[in-house]
């Protein structure tokens, strides 16, 4: 997955950010963050609330008052004067935490069509994209295209928001707390969908979350934030090895890792880098068999 070397698709260099800088209400969000994300990578940006996740997402498509030389897309400084922000926003698709905020039109079909239309696609292509996106998200096109957005349930609105971003066919997909407010079935479906999409379209996938449960199944690499700084950055299993440190940061650990931490009371060297319950079970059977 991880293409070694080459220009990262998204890169932050010594990124720092203070909201309302220069006013009495200034608040520091990002202290010093540097990382690069390669094309095709599946990265989880995790950390407790107030750690700066959403600010980092906003910085990717220049939604803040960025200073130059901090945020790069394909090696280009997005804050440089004359940089084409419109194109940037057609390359990076973001699904925000509250889906309602990014739904523009009042009717489902029109909303999903918004991005492709704005990008200058023909009516026929747009229609195809809308149909494809809605169907992919389990919102059958004929049933849903004329539905009124505000009359949908929360879970359905989230799917509409995701469909609106998918219809853009962006090479980079960013999701902020995608699983929040979904029931277990909805989570499972979304997880499968994202895994499939990432593979089929060779997406660069970035998932932000305060919970490692879903992110650990979806990502290969974790960037762990705390109070606006990167505290850990590495492959998922490497990061999970330090489960005790993660627990201190107020991040929800995956179930198998929680189980593994309990097991450490019996077996002090019990590994915590477990992704699934099957792995936990296998490890347990091995230990008990040995004992």
């Amino acid at each position: 997955m991880q293409a070694a070397g080459g220009t990262p698709v998204i890169e932050l260099r010594n990124f720092e950010y203070t909201y309302l800088e220069g006013t009495p209400r200034a608040s520091e969000a990002i202290r010093d963050v540097s990382f690069g994300i390669q094309r095709g990578e599946r990265v989880g940006i995790v950390g407790p609330t107030q750690s700066g996740k959403s600010t980092i997402i906003d910085s990717f498509v220049h939604l803040l008052r960025l200073k130059p030389d901090q945020v790069f897309y394909d090696g280009e400084d997005v804050a440089a004067s004359g940089y084409d922000r419109g194109r940037l926003r057609r390359e990076i698709g973001i699904v925000f935490q509250q889906p309602d905020s990014q739904i523009i039109e009042n009717v489902v079909g029109a909303d999903v069509a918004f991005g492709p239309t704005a990008a200058g696609l023909s009516a026929k292509e747009t229609r195809e994209r809308v149909e494809e996106s809605l169907n992919t998200l389990g919102l059958p096109y004929p049933d849903f295209r004329l539905r009124y957005v505000h009359a949908l349930s929360g879970g359905q609105r989230r799917r509409v928001a995701i469909a609106g971003v998918l219809a853009m066919h962006t090479p980079v997909l960013v999701l902020d707390e995608p699983m929040a407010g979904l029931d277990p079935r909805g989570r499972k479906e979304l997880l499968e969908l994202l895994t499939r999409l990432q593979r089929d379209r060779d997406l660069t996938l970035i998932v932000c979350s305060a919970s490692l449960t879903d992110a650990s199944l979806l990502c290969d690499r974790f960037i762990v934030l705390e109070e606006g700084t990167v505290v850990m950055d590495g492959p998922v299993r490497e990061v999970l090895k330090e489960a005790d440190r993660l627990a201190e940061l107020d991040i929800t650990l995956p179930e198998p890792v929680i189980g593994a931490r309990e097991m450490r009371k019996l077996f002090p060297d019990f590994p915590t880098e477990l992704l699934t319950e099957d792995e936990l079970e296998a490890e347990l059977v091995k230990r008990i068999g040995a004992a």
Binding site: Y19, L20, G22, T23, P24, R25, D58, V61, L63, L64, R65, R85, G86, R89, R90, I94, F96, Q98, D100, S101, Q102, I103, I104, N106, F114, G115, A118, A119, H150, G164, V165, M168
Partner: protein, 270 residues
């Protein structure tokens, strides 16, 4: 895209200064005196006398002047627009040779300039003292102060508590709404509605797109708030007791008297 940068209405900026620590009732009374004075004072000398007091308040409060001015740009722009009309369409009596420029029904006259000048100062004075009151008084203090001042009216079956509650919630919702608009504008920009580009008219048209979601979230928020108040058995007015009692100190009264005398002088002296 930081709208909050340009809006200070309803904000409370705690610098912990002397003005911040004053009793809220006294601050309300002083604001009331200022408001009355703004109507009574009628010439430039009077306003010139008021000015040093405002400078003093500004310095003591430690609210950065740049923050205040940047937050007032919208208001000042609007005021200039209104005053321009006031001058051009001045209909009062103009003494002989008082016209500087005239074209059909439009004119610029010394009398018009004078009236517009006084009006402008009056409005700025009013705006400044009310804005300052909110910048240096927390909403909790403001509510308590208002309730204590107008509390006696409850004997006459005036729903003082409810009225004040509505007033305070209205003020409190302003910054929340601005935050909401900002969040929406960001999310929609990310989808390709460029809120951060284009001229004034195209920007204004894009704001129109936000109206429906803003209204919906506004109603949802109000609904949530009322449910929260019900579930916690909120009951207003005289049934409530306060944990923190307000206390005036002699310096509060001294300042109240000082302001009253100062304003009377500004009114009567010229």
């Amino acid at each position: 895209m930081e709208l909050q940068r340009n809006v200070i209405f309803g904000q409370f900026v705690d610098t912990g200064s002397f003005v911040h620590r004053m009793d809220a009732r006294i601050k309300l009374a002083i604001t009331f005196i200022f408001i009355v004075a703004s109507f009574l004072i009628g010439d430039f000398v009077g306003f010139a006398l008021v000015f040093p007091l405002l400078v003093l308040i500004q310095v003591v409060s430690r609210i950065p002047i740049g923050y205040l001015l940047r937050g007032s740009q919208l208001f000042l722009g609007f005021l200039i627009f209104i005053l321009a009309f006031q001058i051009l369409f001045y209909t009062g009596e103009v003494p002989e040779g008082g016209y500087l420029w005239r074209w059909r029904f439009l004119s610029i006259s010394t009398a018009g300039l004078y009236t517009a000048g006084i009006l402008g100062l009056r409005v700025i004075f009013l705006y400044y003292v009310t804005t300052m009151l909110m910048l240096v008084t927390s909403l909790v203090d403001l509510t308590n102060g208002l309730e204590l001042i107008f509390g006696p009216l409850q004997r006459f079956r005036i729903p003082v508590n409810e009225l004040i509650l509505v007033f305070v919630i209205a003020i409190k919702f302003v910054p929340i709404f601005i935050e909401e608009v900002e969040r929406l504008a960001r999310a929609q920009t990310a989808r390709g509605v460029p809120f951060d580009e284009g001229g004034a008219i195209s920007r204004a048209r894009r704001i129109g797109r936000l109206l429906v979601p803003i209204f919906i979230s506004g109603f949802a928020r109000a609904d949530l708030l009322s449910t929260a108040m019900h579930t916690r058995s909120y009951r207003g007015g005289r049934y409530r007791t306060k944990f923190r009692q307000m206390k005036t100190v002699p310096s509060d009264w001294a300042i109240l008297v000082l302001v009253a005398v100062w304003m009377t002088m500004a009114w009567l002296l010229p």
